[in-house]
């Protein structure tokens, strides 16, 4: 009786594995590659035939003429094969110290005034591709000065790349840092 049960269970798990562990994911891969090849491939962005990143994944920007993303704890920063967060609690002295150091550094590069909280906090993934419109606005003057552009030009670009809430309800307003910086570069390329 028990032997028969175990034999039946074995056959069941083998059949389930073939069906749900192979047929389902592989069949769906075929479907996705046919119907949504760009998304299924990781939403990669190419510039001059070279992959510069994924639209969905943040990357490091440290130069003054680019908009800067949030701090990242993924690998050495925005390592897209090693997502990670600080996991520090709110009473952690280490976290509080990190935040004030980041705030000071930001003020040194981008001018005095309050610093939006997401620019001193690491995201959950360490790969957050976005910053808030307020965090982008706070960097406009620096980027414009570094590029010799008028502030209103850069501002207009930020507004163009600001995504609102989906259907006016879902999510938070945000700016994709990589797309914005690529647009800045192509703006410069057009003018030169």
């Amino acid at each position: 009786m028990i032997q028969q049960q175990i034999f039946s269970a074995l056959r069941l798990i083998v059949v389930a594995t073939l069906l749900f562990g192979l047929a389902y994911p592989l069949g769906f891969t075929l479907f996705a590659q046919t119907m949504f090849p760009h998304q299924a491939g990781g939403s990669l962005i190419e510039r001059d035939g070279q992959v510069v990143g994924s639209r969905l994944v943040g990357q490091v920007f440290t130069q003054v003429e680019y908009f800067h993303p949030r701090p990242s704890l993924a690998g050495d920063g925005y390592d897209a094969a090693d997502s990670d967060a600080s996991n520090l609690g709110q009473t952690s002295a280490e976290l509080l110290q990190l935040m004030s150091i980041r705030a000071e550094a930001f003020r040194a590069s981008s001018g005095d005034g309050p610093v939006p909280i997401e620019l001193v906090t690491a995201s959950g993934s360490g790969l957050d591709p976005h910053i808030s419109p307020a965090a982008a606005a706070r960097q406009v003057a620096r980027v414009a000065a570094a590029r010799g552009l008028a502030e209103h030009e850069v501002e207009a670009l930020v507004i163009r790349f600001t995504e609102g809430r989906t259907f006016g309800i879902l999510g938070e307003p945000r700016v994709n840092v990589l797309e914005l910086n690529l647009a800045l570069d192509s703006l410069a390329a057009d003018e030169s």
Binding site: N87, M99, E118, G126, T166
Partner: protein, 568 residues
């Protein structure tokens, strides 16, 4: 509360409430063996599987036969997964050349996915081959969810039937897989891939960033797995940081869908229950009790996460967005707390923000949800059978108050059922309090704690709550990947799963053998506001009394320290 936050919460709850009767009614038809719109498509496949596996679809099992079939199936699943994880280095679909897992990590992971916990002591993109993700984890995502749902249906049949049988485990399993989990997963996977979740078998893509640095972008068959991970209250992320990862959860739409899928089946099963016992008021009463606990928790976390440490304002930081450490810009605080509350109310365990970095009270509520046994909608099947254990306890206490033998749905609740219910409930303090207590004094175990101060205790408490409750979320600063914790957390998961399921099946069998008694004036009605209040009180008192001392030393102490401006 801002208008947009309120709208997002209202839309989320509204959509779930609207879907509950449809999905719940559909599942009742599936479990009653009735024809559904998928029958023409699925029944040839269903019959084929029965033939291949030597299953007689007409045979009815008593609870012992059902339990043996369930245990044998889970044991085989565990062994197969363990072997795949150990041997993945030699197997195909491994473009990154990821080596096999160590024995303790493979044990932990195999237990974790077989018990529907999906605790992850590894990081997906660096620790698993595509074959392990698909054949190993995706398979268990399906079958462990179906196991929980099957056990629930057996318990419901125990309440309804009088011939001592509770159904057939293989049939319940196969019907759950084919008629419920597979079609819904496909639907979700399509939306997810359209929103940008990868679905490929390619090697990781090297990119040269705008500033000229090298970035390697992880890939894989993610969408198909994330769909079932959310639907089956599994929660194991394809990537290390789970649904906080922008490739696992790229947009507000993918986030909304993934959140709805956390609670869809747990909520709908309560409706299924009402329909199968032919008294919808009974389902409604349980739904109301769960709803009250859900909303109370949600608003506590929401308001807690608006706060940050008082020192930040002094450092010239603009904090009106709330606590953003470990949270993603596209989701903000509101979607992070909605997720955190839902994933721990249900035993999903996926995260879209890092619970370890929540404010002390904001992190306490998810932990408390797990300590209550995840009966607030809960894991697929597991949540409702857990809540029905509390119902047994509640009617027993109510019976003591009115001085009559307690009854539930016409079945007498006697010493045997109450004893079994208490055994099931006792798994929670055993796995959580006892294991955490040992872990926080043994040096080999305590070394994994990341932080000093009360938050350190919260980390270990959260880990063992998550394992015992079969949740799988973590205060991820806790260094769980050590031989000690891999083993102990693995044992906690097994205790939390099977020491719950076996008493539940035993209760099902005992009730199934009883003749119903007619309701009389002395019968305590198990619907209506009085019963709902009593049920909520029993859940909270059992949880409160058991876990309050531990919570006082962890998150509550940390909260008091934070508002004083202290740091550790």
């Amino acid at each position: 509360m801002s208008t947009s936050d309120f709208l997002q919460i209202a839309l989320f709850i509204g959509v779930l409430l609207a879907l509950t009767p449809f999905v719940g009614g559909y599942m009742a038809r599936v479990y009653s063996g009735e024809r559904t719109f998928l029958t023409p498509l699925m029944s040839p496949l269903e019959r084929g599987i029965y033939r291949l596996c030597g299953v007689d679809p007409q045979a009815q099992q008593r609870w012992t036969g059902y339990a043996v079939a369930m245990l044998a199936f889970n044991a085989c699943g565990f062994l197969l997964l363990f072997l795949i994880l150990r041997l993945q280095g030699y197997l195909p679909f491994n473009p990154e050349g990821i080596p096999g897992m160590s024995a303790d990590l493979a044990f932990n992971t195999a237990v974790s996915f077989t018990t529907n916990t999906n605790w992850q002591a590894y990081s997906g993109e660096s620790g698993l081959s595509y074959l392990s993700q698909m054949m190993g984890l995706t398979t268990q995502n399906f079958v462990s969810a179906a196991t929980g749902m099957a056990v629930l249906v057996a318990l419901i049949r125990g309440l309804v039937r009088r011939d001592g049988t509770v159904g057939s485990f293989p049939v319940d399993l196969v019907r759950t897989l084919l008629y419920i989990l597979l079609p819904l997963s496909l639907l979700a996977a399509i939306v997810l891939v359209a929103e940008g979740v990868p679905q490929n078998l390619s090697a990781y893509v090297p990119a040269t960033t705008v500033e000229g640095a090298q970035q390697t972008i992880a890939q894989g068959p993610a969408a198909s797995q994330i769909a079932i991970k959310q639907l089956g209250t599994n929660g194991g992320g394809f990537f290390g940081v789970n649904s906080a990862h922008p490739l696992e959860n790229p947009t507000p739409i993918s986030n909304f869908l993934e959140m709805v899928f956390i609670l869809l089946i747990p909520m709908a099963l309560v409706y299924t229950f009402g329909k199968m016992v032919k008294d919808r008021r009974q389902g409604l009463a349980i739904f109301a009790a769960m709803g009250v606990l859900y909303l109370a928790g949600l608003f506590t976390v929401y308001f807690a996460e608006q706060n940050v440490h008082p020192e930040l304002a002094a450092a010239g930081i603009e904090t009106s967005a709330g606590n953003m450490e470990g949270k993603e810009t596209r989701f903000g605080v509101v979607n992070s707390v909605l997720w955190a509350q839902s994933t721990t109310a249900a035993s999903n365990g996926s995260v879209n923000s890092m619970h370890d970095s929540f404010t002390p009270l904001g992190g306490m509520i998810p932990m408390f949800n797990m300590m209550l046994g995840e009966v607030v909608f809960g894991g697929v099947g597991a949540g409702l059978y857990g809540m029905l254990i509390f119902v047994v306890l509640t009617v027993f206490i109510a019976g003591l108050m009115v001085g009559r033998t307690p009854e539930y749905l016409g079945k007498k609740i006697e010493a045997k059922e109450v004893t079994l219910a208490l055994i099931a409930i006792f798994t929670l303090p055993l796995g959580i309090v006892a294991f955490s207590a040992v872990g926080s004094v043994l040096p080999v175990a305590a070394a994994s704690i990341q932080e000093v101060g009360p938050h350190g205790l919260s980390e270990i408490l959260y880990a063992y709550s998550s394992a015992t409750g079969n949740n799988g979320s973590a205060f991820a600063g806790f260094g769980a990947d050590t031989p000690y914790h891999n083993t102990m957390l693995g044992i906690a998961m097994l205790v939390g799963r099977f020491f719950m399921i076996l008493p539940v099946l035993a209760i099902a069998g005992s009730l199934a053998a009883k003749q119903p008694v007619a309701a009389s004036a002395g019968t305590f009605p198990t619907h209506g506001p009085l019963f709902v209040t009593l049920l909520v009180a029993v859940v909270l008192i059992v949880g409160g009394l058991t876990f309050f001392p531990a919570l006082a030393l962890g998150p509550i102490a940390e909260h008091l320290a934070m508002i004083q401006g202290m740091q550790f």
